[in-house]
């Protein structure tokens, strides 16, 4: 930013005059965002306060009944919302724990290898997301890869059935799906970090653990925060994973939401969606200082 404004001061007046015209460039995207993002969100909010007797009735009365239902209903929706958040927190933490050393490994590789390894991390994105989720049922299932391997090596005689269709498998798949984001975000911060800081810390008597906690980790916090934005929030909105591998115990808020939308309970569905959206927005506002969205440009 600073660089840009500095330059703006030095450049010729003719360039200066061109600047206000640039603002028109914002117009198309801003229009699209308003018409196809803000207005729909506003209508969603309005629908959440509408009640109609018939399915999909547009005529109805204003009500807060949907919100009452979200927050009461024996606390079920609220509890599932909290459960969803907790699972997303656990999955994000797991992504960071598993992904951090992985990113470290890549950042430590030679220049030549780094680009190869990064490409390899991103490659799975080019394979169908749905099929990658689905493939996990063939890995974790009773006759899946893991159980067959365990049986082949004589470790178990009965298949481990706790691997699939529960919160565990749900989190495994979340980690699988989102770990590339964490790895890339942390790799980017590691890459930006001055390597001599690590040497300096060791030189000053910090053990590897101390060096990591006091120097490396604080330096890569932007990557950690970016993981929250690009891992935690998308997991809150995951529908496919709980549906395909979550089983009974892995029901998340999105499943209830989609059930309602499928039943054309737009009012109630919108209320659930709006509660989620509010939570996400508050989180983003809270993180605003830590994750400077503008800095994503530079990254």
């Amino acid at each position: 930013m600073r660089a840009a404004s500095n330059v703006a001061v030095h450049i010729s007046p003719r360039v200066g005059r061109a600047i206000p015209r640039l603002l028109w460039g914002l117009l198309p995207l801003a229009t699209i965002d308003v018409v196809l993002f803000v207005i729909p969100m506003v209508f969603m909010a309005l629908f959440s306060f509408r009640f109609s007797e018939e399915l999909l009735g547009l005529v109805g009365r204003w009500t807060v009944a949907h919100y009452v239902k979200v927050f009461t209903s024996e606390g079920i929706y609220l509890r599932i919302l909290v459960k969803t958040i907790v699972i997303a927190v656990v999955a994000t933490a797991a992504c960071l724990l598993v992904g951090y050393p992985f990113a470290y490994f890549i950042a430590n590789a030679s220049r030549r290898w780094q680009s190869v390894l990064l490409t390899l991390v991103i490659m799975p994105f080019w394979t169908s997301y749905l099929l990658r989720v689905y493939a996990w049922t063939a890995i974790l299932g009773d006759r899946g890869l893991i159980n067959e391997a365990l049986r082949f090596f004589g470790v178990t005689d009965q298949p481990l059935s706790f691997l699939l269709f529960n919160v565990f498998s749900e989190i495994v798949v979340f980690v699988y799906l989102y770990i590339p984001y964490t790895v890339l975000a942390i790799y980017a911060s590691l890459e930006k970090m001055d390597r001599s800081l690590v040497l300096a810390a060791m030189d000053l008597g910090a053990t590897p653990v101390q060096t990591f906690l006091r120097i490396v980790l604080p330096q890569t916090l932007p990557g950690v925060y970016a993981s929250i934005v690009f891992v935690f929030i998308p997991i809150l909105g995951e529908y496919v994973t709980p549906t395909l591998v979550g089983g009974m115990s892995g029901v998340l808020i999105t499943n209830l939401l989609v059930n309602q939308i499928h039943a054309l309970e737009f009012g109630f569905g919108a209320a659930i969606a709006f509660v989620m959206a509010t939570f996400v927005l508050m989180l983003l506002l809270g993180l605003r200082r830590s994750v400077d969205l503008e800095r994503l440009y530079v990254a």
Partner: protein
Amino acid sequence: MKDGHTAVQSLAQELREGQLTRREFFRTCARLGIGVMAASSVLRTLGGGTASAAALPGPLNILVWDDHFDEPELKDFVATTGVKVNTSLFDENADAYAKTKLVGGRQIDVVSGDALWGPRYYQSGLVDPLDLSQFTSAKELFPVFREISFWKVGTRSIMFPWSWAPIIPYYDPRYVTPFDSYEALFDPKYRRRIVMEKTPVDIMAQMGLVSGAKKPYQMTASEVKAAKEALIRLKPNILTFVEQSNQFVQYFVNGSAWIIANAHTGLDYRVKQAGGPLVKPVYPKEGYVGFLDGEMVVKNAAHRDAAMAWLDHKNQAKYVVLNFQKQLRALANEKAMKILQQDPKYADLVHATGYDQPDVALRMILKGPPPGEGLKMYIDAFNEAIAR
């Protein structure tokens, strides 16, 4: 989402280092554009959208269960009429009803539905009854299915009948002791061993049967509450919900499921065909639900002619035979049954699935929509139970 980002940046760098000039770029773009156009035209041809044979306006939009059609008849239909068919699949009657209500004939020409859902569609003004005598293939139906009272509107029928079957539990006798009551499903030793089809209204109805409701599709609020309690009780034993019954076979074959609580008849044969165990059906003493389904033509369907042609086309005995061989459950087409009876491979199955006893179909507790606010009540109860 920085994912692509970095990769792409490296690509960008290569581009930069590659000194890609603007002219080269445009030339490449132009080539790419031509390539894409060529590819899409090839794909269009392959996709069967050959406009030359178009006798009827299309495309035909059908909202169906996946076991109501097969590739061969789709392909033949496209070949003979030139009409492209868009197929959307759905999970449950309530879904299809909601969707039809949402977008109507503009987007859906034909919709599949179950027994008592038909009258609901008609009452809501969503479908046009059919004059079955207009269809050549309707002459192949068992007479009872041409005259189903609750589908009758004057001389016309709301639905073109397709198939029927009881919906009952199946179990793998290697792990499960034989039972005759839904109560057995609640046995703690079957923890995480039961798989169910995800049809919230029908599951609630089944739970209604468990908890003693007389009319499982017309439960009162307190009966719904009891059914919900039953589902909550059953929850620990449920491994997962699946969409439609094809996955039942897989779960029996790979040993994940010991009981499948709501499958239509014929599952045992399909499991055996796929190399699985010899699973056994149970006709619970509390009673059981059954489906009797067919297709309806949506009111003001944008491609009504194509819809009629499609119904006549796909209900021909030759396709029904293929469908039976794949799905192994009773259908409404009598001619197809007779063909199958001639085939030693399928003769027994025709009897075992009840295909030769069409009157059984009307004695089951038929699927239907809960009246009025009931639907919302059923879905809420289901949601609340699984979310608990």
